[in-house]
């Protein structure tokens, strides 16, 4: 039995679709229930539904053998897991955004983000010293009301930025969802995991 940690929300449906394309027989009512652990006996699979940021934690600790996580989460968390496949789903990118024409505060430039690790690494690599302010959501708010000069967040269509009068200033990295595997599971359940990887690899849309 393989335990797979799945992110709730945006990525979930696309990942499920991909698994179905790979000919895994998953029940149609999957998403409707509020259960956090769903067993699919006929496929010898167990799904656990977690917050996207937590998927990597479950997999690193080995309570899930595999997981599906965005590259943004992997970059932020830097966990010791195998990143085996780029699933090419939930495409977006990490970007720096701000109000058009707004300059960074000279004394204490501030950046608001859900991704403090990515943001501080990025600005350090640019040779800029900034102060990071961690937020949990609605990051776009921060420059509007003067909490920060810049934000670092994922951008998919750019609509949220636009509607809030923000512009994308720099692109940090491309993001898609990845298949990740716990190192111990990778060694001990090798066969099962390899089959899953092969089946998924065969149906991943090539970019």
């Amino acid at each position: 039995m393989l335990t797979i940690a799945m992110p709730k929300g945006r990525i979930f449906d696309e990942a499920l679709e991909l698994l179905r394309q790979a000919d895994y027989q998953l029940p149609p009512e999957f998403t409707e229930s509020r259960k956090l652990v769903i067993e699919v006996a006929e496929e010898q699979m167990r799904f656990i539904l977690a917050k996207p940021m937590d998927v990597v934690t479950y997999v690193e600790h080995g309570v899930a053998d595999l997981g599906i996580a965005g590259k943004d989460v992997l970059m932020e968390e830097e966990r010791d897991v195998y990143e085996l496949l780029d699933l090419q789903i939930s495409r977006c990118h990490l970007a720096v955004a701000g109000l058009p024409g707004a300059k960074m505060n000279e004394i204490a430039p501030r950046v608001a983000t859900k991704y403090p690790n990515i943001a501080s690494t990025y600005f350090r690599e640019q040779g800029e010293q900034v102060e990071i302010i961690r937020l949990n959501g609605s990051i776009e708010l921060a420059p509007l009301i003067g909490l920060a000069d810049r934000i670092v967040d994922i951008v998919s269509t750019g609509r949220t930025l636009k509607e809030n009068g923000l512009v994308e200033l720099e692109r940090i990295a491309e993001v898609t969802s990845r298949l990740i595997v716990n190192p111990a599971s990778y060694r001990l359940n090798g066969g099962d995991i390899e089959r899953l990887v092969d089946r998924l690899a065969a149906v991943i849309p090539q970019p």
Partner: protein, 394 residues
């Protein structure tokens, strides 16, 4: 009354070992130590504190994970983050004199600071060996076989040893990429287990399709000895061939030792321990998401202590090993004698007699017990010497 802040708290990652766990650790430790001694290794101890400049720098543990402190003269000290570097120091300065192989073992707590959530101790016990001064593949085979023997002795069910060769990876990268800078960029992806990034990176370089394929094929070289055929065709340089030959010889030796079935090759294995120079390995067990031990050849480490010598060894983590073995009831086999004042002499005599037989005996005055029912639950058996009846009444 307000409780004192931190009264029951411990610094992040520090753990107590209560009696139940202590018994379990003791048992696991003694079984393994006995086996290690049977293989002729001699145990040594080294100090908990070492100089940052020497052992701290020689250790492969990242700087931010070292516990550092200052001594009275202002020198930076570290709590030893591993045992390999201290043993290399001792061997280089004292023991490794005639250049003949030296077999040393250790059983000690090591310290690695951590910032993340719980579930990761910052101090943990390691048991392991170092075989210094023997550069042969048989030495590598011996330490792997000994490690497998230990895991079997402690009753570990399913486990798997992944074996690779850092010299092979280096040779392959260097012959295709031409320079160390590119090679190290690619090695970093393997070390981070980021195969997606590895593939993207390989495809982004202007390489011939054959060379690209060679680099991509590396990721698939996992399994039994059948992998060796393919592995040998992938490299062309002398270093690469030599590394592949070493691995092949290792697998043959492991078959002779009878442990080959526990071992899987993984040609893309790159360890977080940066001092490895040749064959390296990691061991995983069911029920534990993290490696329970690792090891490998580190032929350059003793040179950092001015006495170059080949060396290989492994370290097993006792905490993860216990997690892998699962809970077994090893409650201490302790008997209790509860006595009243007038029969103290008799109780002491009885306890001494039992202790002389090697039994574990608690001697407890009845007046010191608050709840006799709860107290008696703790012991396997309990003898009451109460009241005036004395010896005659027994």
């Amino acid at each position: 009354m307000a409780k004192k802040l931190f009264m029951f708290e411990k610094p992040l990652g520090m753990r107590d070992t209560l009696p139940f766990l202590y018994e379990l650790k003791k048992q696991v430790r003694s079984v393994m130590a006995e086996e290690i001694e049977r293989w002729g290794y001699e145990f040594i101890e080294t100090p908990t504190l070492e100089y940052y400049e020497t052992v701290g720098a020689a250790s492969a543990i990242a700087d931010h994970r070292l516990f550092k402190l200052l001594d009275q003269q202002g020198h930076t000290l570290v709590l030893r983050p591993d045992m390999t570097a201290p043993i290399a120091r001792v061997a280089a300065s004292r023991l490794y004199e005639d250049g003949n192989p030296l077999r040393l073992a250790y059983n000690a707590n090591v310290f690695r600071a951590q910032q993340r959530e719980g579930g990761r101790p910052a101090e943990f016990e390691q048991i392991g060996v170092e075989l210094i001064g023997d550069g042969t593949v048989t030495a590598d085979a011996e330490v792997i076989s000994l490690m497998v023997a230990l895991l079997k002795r402690v009753g570990l069910g399913r486990f798997s040893v992944a074996v690779g060769h850092i010299g092979y990876v280096n040779a392959l990268f260097l012959e295709i990429l031409g320079n160390e800078e590119r090679a190290s960029a690619l090695r970093r992806f393997l070390y981070e287990k980021n195969y997606v990034g590895y593939r993207e990176h390989v495809k982004s370089w202007p390489l011939s399709s054959i060379d690209q394929k060679r680099l991509l094929d590396l990721l698939a070289l996992r399994g039994g000895t059948e992998v060796m055929e393919k592995a040998k065709t992938l490299v062309t340089s002398d270093e690469g061939r030599r590394a592949a030959d070493e691995l092949e010889a290792l697998m043959a030796a492991l078959r002779t030792y009878g442990v080959a079935e526990a071992v899987k090759l993984d040609m893309a294995l790159v360890s977080h321990m940066s001092y490895y120079t040749g064959i390296l390995f990691e061991v995983y067990a069911e029920q534990v998401g993290f490696p329970i031990g690792n090891g490998g050849r580190y032929d350059d480490l003793l040179g950092k202590f001015s006495r170059p010598a080949p060396a290989t060894g492994f370290g097993l983590r006792v905490d993860r090993l216990i997690e892998a073995i699962g809970e077994t009831d090893v409650r201490g086999d302790i008997e209790c004698i509860v006595f009243s004042q007038e029969r103290l002499a008799e109780a002491v005599e009885l306890a001494e007699a039992k202790r002389a037989e090697g039994k574990r005996v608690v001697l407890q005055h009845i007046a010191g017990i608050r709840d006799i029912d709860a107290y008696s639950q703790r012991y396997r058996s309990i003898v009451y010497l109460l009241g005036r009846s004395g010896r005659d009444g027994q």
